[in-house]
Symmetry: C2
Subunit: 444 residues, 2 copies
Amino acid sequence: MPPRPLAAGFEIGEDPGVAIVPPSKRPHLVIVGAGFGGLYAARALRRAEVRVTVIDRSNHHLFQPLLYQVATAVLNTGDIAAPIRAVLRSGNVAVILSEARSIDLERKRVICSHGEVAFDLLIVATGASHSYFGHDEWAGDAPGLKTLEDALRIRRRVLLAYELAEREADLPARRDWLTFVIVGGGPTGVELAGALAEIARHALARDFRNIDPTEARVILLEGQDRLLTAWPPELSDHARRSLERLGVQVRTGAMVTAVDGRGVGIGEERISARTVLWAAGVEASPLAKSLGAPLDRAGRVKVTPELTVPGREDVFVVGDLASLEIEGHPVPGLAGAAIQEGRHAARNVLRSARGQPLLPFRYRDRGAFAVIGRGAAVGVAFRRFRIHGFLAWVAWLLIHLLFLIGFRNRLSVLINWAYSFLTLRRHARLITGLPFGGEPRGPS
Amino acid sequence: MPPRPLAAGFEIGEDPGVAIVPPSKRPHLVIVGAGFGGLYAARALRRAEVRVTVIDRSNHHLFQPLLYQVATAVLNTGDIAAPIRAVLRSGNVAVILSEARSIDLERKRVICSHGEVAFDLLIVATGASHSYFGHDEWAGDAPGLKTLEDALRIRRRVLLAYELAEREADLPARRDWLTFVIVGGGPTGVELAGALAEIARHALARDFRNIDPTEARVILLEGQDRLLTAWPPELSDHARRSLERLGVQVRTGAMVTAVDGRGVGIGEERISARTVLWAAGVEASPLAKSLGAPLDRAGRVKVTPELTVPGREDVFVVGDLASLEIEGHPVPGLAGAAIQEGRHAARNVLRSARGQPLLPFRYRDRGAFAVIGRGAAVGVAFRRFRIHGFLAWVAWLLIHLLFLIGFRNRLSVLINWAYSFLTLRRHARLITGLPFGGEPRGPS
């Protein structure tokens, strides 16, 4: 790929490899989104000869793989989140708390909720969320899990369901409060189902007088014919058996066709449940649309092998917002992939600023795991090793501790895990944000 | 005081001291509120021959003396709260999540948001909150600190103020974002002011590019002529000097006459500030009114020396909701006093059930402390020893660790304190609950 002229607004020295460029003349890189892709790109560039501005609508980076543990009262919010400012404190990175609404590629500006930010180079990393498959009206009755607020909302609903069941004299109504439906059998759905079953069987078992929490039903619905479709079928079987051992009812081939505050419909059939959680589908951040590039079915930007928007060498897309196939294999929507893409985009940003040809991204598949419960997980490591059970669980723990940002968070997570593992209790069983105290209107 | 006949609905054996009463015949004690007073009463009775039901509108007991540390991002919500059910798991105590709306003394029922609960004996312990002195319309612009939600709201406002200052190009507007006013110079106000000054000077000092957090102004307003009026004047002086050393502007004799989203008025004078926090006044829970007993100016129930509502030996009031003078000294609104009252009411509940005369409450004043900052506190121990500085601070730490409920919370608080003390950082710097991402409308 031939070197291309630099974008207007900055210059660099004769030999870009060694010249010291005065800060004010350095190209301005804007990174939208401080998830794994954006944050690791910024970290890779904090000593480089670019000025970096990170824009995020939240003040914290979130370690999303552990978000379901906040939702299920194992961890505190503070354990899996770190202030973006604190993480990027040293170096040449500015952080702006604002929501990017759209991108004007022609004028090279990010249009934010607070105003416009001009860029020379851009990395878009605003990720993806779950998808209600065109039924956004289900969102209120079946919340998904993407932000800390989502996790606290789910925690509130789950804990409140037991409280309201305890108060409820009518037996069928009580049963509905004690029925938990999770839609979507991917990693998040599997992890939520396992954790909810453990809450019922262990954490809450002795805490109530009128109800028996171990009678709670946890039902996991998956539209396709097996759980964890991104993994090999044998691991799907393991996951299913492990969940069933915990008491989860797993139903595959179950397409949800209706959701309301009293349950879900699967075609003609109806499951009564006061708590429905959504863990299905993928829908890219709407920012993708303003990039004027081809999108895939989930709304993700089909990027070039160099991770750029087709036709631009100054605009990169990484993480869950990017859609890329390498040798026929799609790069998966995992934290590890986003980190690698973020770092690669950082490298290409510098090459672009120096007029050097961009390099194609190579994905190193180190593996992926899903936890089912205490001492049980399934996963594939390095594309080849399929592991399950206790070994997979230990591997999962170590990998997640390793990638958590900050010593403080690692220590705190480790303590909370040890506490849950040894006592079977849940430390973070707090309902916050009740609308009117213990109002009997049900969870919101 | 002569023994009185038992309330209808329960009987006890011939010799109430030793007889085993079948559980269904045991008198039913209802405790409203699981703060210090209610929780310690319930704990004292969990093996006694009464059936106990605890009603609270929240699912957690809150360790209020450390709430300001959640608001100022030192501690997580989970560190200072424990699920009431988990604390009262063993024994004969049922817990109901519901809001008590009023009390029908004639029919012996607590009217809750979810229905009615009948009682034979009652302990009311719903506490008190701050008071806007008839200006409840100030609550939105000057939030107080009483619940976990309050603490998260204050944390959000404070952290967001720095974020919005960073984005603000206009210098006077930026200055307003960096001005923090605290109304009320009691322990909560003093502790908040000290903590906010430390955030500005240490925790955030190096994290911004456009603003210098050390330029933030923290202004503490007190209507009377000194801070901490419940303490001896020499400790007020110490507190003031310690705060001023941290950079806090302390203004005594400053009566706030106006509050809005842009600042406060003190008579003719105006202080522009985008963050105003309220820590003044005392207003008892409105439940007091339905007890038909004489109330003091703050709306607290004037209880008998036995902690009962005058004229009743089956209805007790403890903690901040009770107003009691012993030998001319009012029992203070402190956690320690509430705990002692709760335990004493538990004792008298049993005596009432057995038809024995009730005993008057004696308050053991073990002391009270207020923290000003890292290594600085003031306090009085055992009515006689006035201490300040590092020694008082260590005493404060130890006392609070000792009274925190649960080993898990103690460990977590200890780690967070050690972290803050050693690194000067704030672990829990998370903004949650932003209305629309980083919307520039300002905090809500």
